[in-house]
């Protein structure tokens, strides 16, 4: 079987069109990971690009080498390529690919470690908005300990300001994920995990859960709406004035796994709700802050 020219050209065209197709569709808006809308997602995408590019290089290198080997050393009559059945060792070659893999791993490792530490810290200069997130069977409950309002299945945040999400769960684990703002973090019962995200510009960013949590898992979606700070403040004031408070009976309805609710907004929430699921400890909206808020919000 001799390689035929037309077949090669055909393959070439196929690969080219595949590549172009990927590139074109890659720019489509549906590739949410490639369209970061905040510093966290941006930083993460940077590493994805870096590792992806290096890995693509390795993949192509291996594919090309394999293709060359298969063409050159096929067992067919008249193959003029050398045959050396005892050739099993070449220090230079082996050192070369040891060095190559090591170099690539080092190149990826350094920014990985840097970014892991960097993303763990809130940017120092800005004062964050704190939002307590509770994953319920099959809803998302958002509580604003500073503003003392609550929303269900959607969350409004100010843009240009870091937002500290304090994540916990009332029931099985979920993950809190807003792909365009940044990577995910688990919501676990009995634990509070911090995650900070920031939207650079206003917009609607869909979020969802990445950890299967039971029959209604498919409903674990929410929208993040980022608006400028003044609009956010107006919204908070409006909610505090116009909406109903989240009563305990509302809350009990929320935690019932059989009841599905549409997005909702509450002017306040029982102070005990969030601590109840986390044994009285949160990172920022801890008991002290919450009590302070409670006093500040009390009609004098």
């Amino acid at each position: 079987m001799t390689p035929k020219r037309p077949k090669r050209a055909y393959r070439y065209i196929l690969f080219m069109s595949l590549g172009i197709g990927l590139l074109v569709t890659g720019c489509g808006q549906q590739y949410v990971l490639l369209h970061p809308a905040g510093p966290v997602a941006h930083s993460e995408l940077g590493l994805i690009y870096l590792s992806g590019a290096l890995m693509l290089f390795i993949i192509l290198l291996v594919w090309v080498l394999l293709a060359i080997v298969l063409v050159r050393f096929r067992d067919k009559p008249g193959n003029k390529a050398p045959y050396r059945p005892l050739w099993e060792h070449n220090r230079k070659l082996e050192l070369f690919w040891l060095g190559l893999s090591l170099a690539i791993v080092i190149v990826i490792s350094i920014p990985t470690v840097q970014k892991t530490y960097a993303l763990d810290k809130l940017p120092p200069a800005k004062d964050p908005v704190v939002i307590d997130v509770t994953a319920i069977q099959y809803k998302w409950l958002f509580e604003y300990p500073q503003q003392h309002i609550a929303t269900v299945n959607y969350v409004n945040i100010p843009s240009g300001v870091p937002v500290l999400f304090e994540l916990t769960a009332e029931a099985p684990m979920n993950t809190f994920w807003v792909p365009r703002l940044g990577g995910m973090e688990y919501t676990m019962p009995g634990e509070v995990l911090p995650l900070w995200l920031e939207a650079s510009k206003s917009g609607l960013y869909p979020g969802r859960s990445g950890q299967f949590s039971g029959r209604g898992f498919v409903h674990m979606t929410f929208n993040v709406r980022a608006v400028p700070m003044n609009q956010f403040r107006n919204w908070v004031t409006r909610v505090q004035k116009q909406n109903h408070p989240l009563t305990l009976s509302d809350y009990n309805r929320l935690v019932d796994r059989h009841i599905w609710v549409s997005p909702a907004t509450y002017s306040s929430y029982p102070i005990s709700t969030f601590p109840k699921t986390t044994h009285g400890f949160t990172l920022h909206g801890n008991m002290y802050t919450q009590m302070k808020n409670m006093f500040m919000n009390m009609p004098s």
Binding site: D120, K121, L122, E191, L193, L283, H284
Partner: protein
């Protein structure tokens, strides 16, 4: 060949150094040569027993008397426990004996490494949660 460390009371039951095991070449079988030792009176066992009781008493006494700050105290009694374990392995479990005892030492060493790593890493992972500062 098992080397005697106990003078004339020890009867070494051994195989000549080039005693083959039927596996591997000469280099390998030098490590894997069978080795055994047995004495005429169970001195080793008796001493081991006394030592184990003493170590236990030490650990117990140290805890009851609270002779050190807690962190050091725990380190100390853990050290004593490791001594105890080595004692059991060496004296009673004849760790170095057997046909091809290298393999049991390798397996056990790996298991101990994995076990310690498992415990320490689990504590590290599970009790240290990041806080956003």
């Amino acid at each position: 060949m098992a080397i005697s460390r106990h003078g004339k009371h020890t009867r070494v039951i051994g195989i000549s150094p080039n005693g083959p095991t039927g596996h591997g070449d000469e280099v390998e079988s030098a490590y894997l040569a069978p080795r055994f030792e047995e004495e005429d009176f169970p001195w080793k066992q008796i001493l081991g027993y006394i030592a184990s009781l003493v170590l236990t008493a030490l650990a117990f006494g140290a805890v009851v008397k609270h002779i050190l700050p807690p962190a050091f105290l725990i380190g100390f009694i853990l050290f004593l426990a490791v001594l105890q374990a080595s004692l059991q392995l060496g004296v009673f479990m004849h760790l170095r004996e057997g046909r091809g005892s290298t393999w049991q030492i390798v397996t056990l060493t790996l298991a101990i490494l994995m076990g310690i790593g498992l415990v320490i890493c689990s504590i590290w992972i599970m009790t240290f949660k990041s806080g956003v500062s």
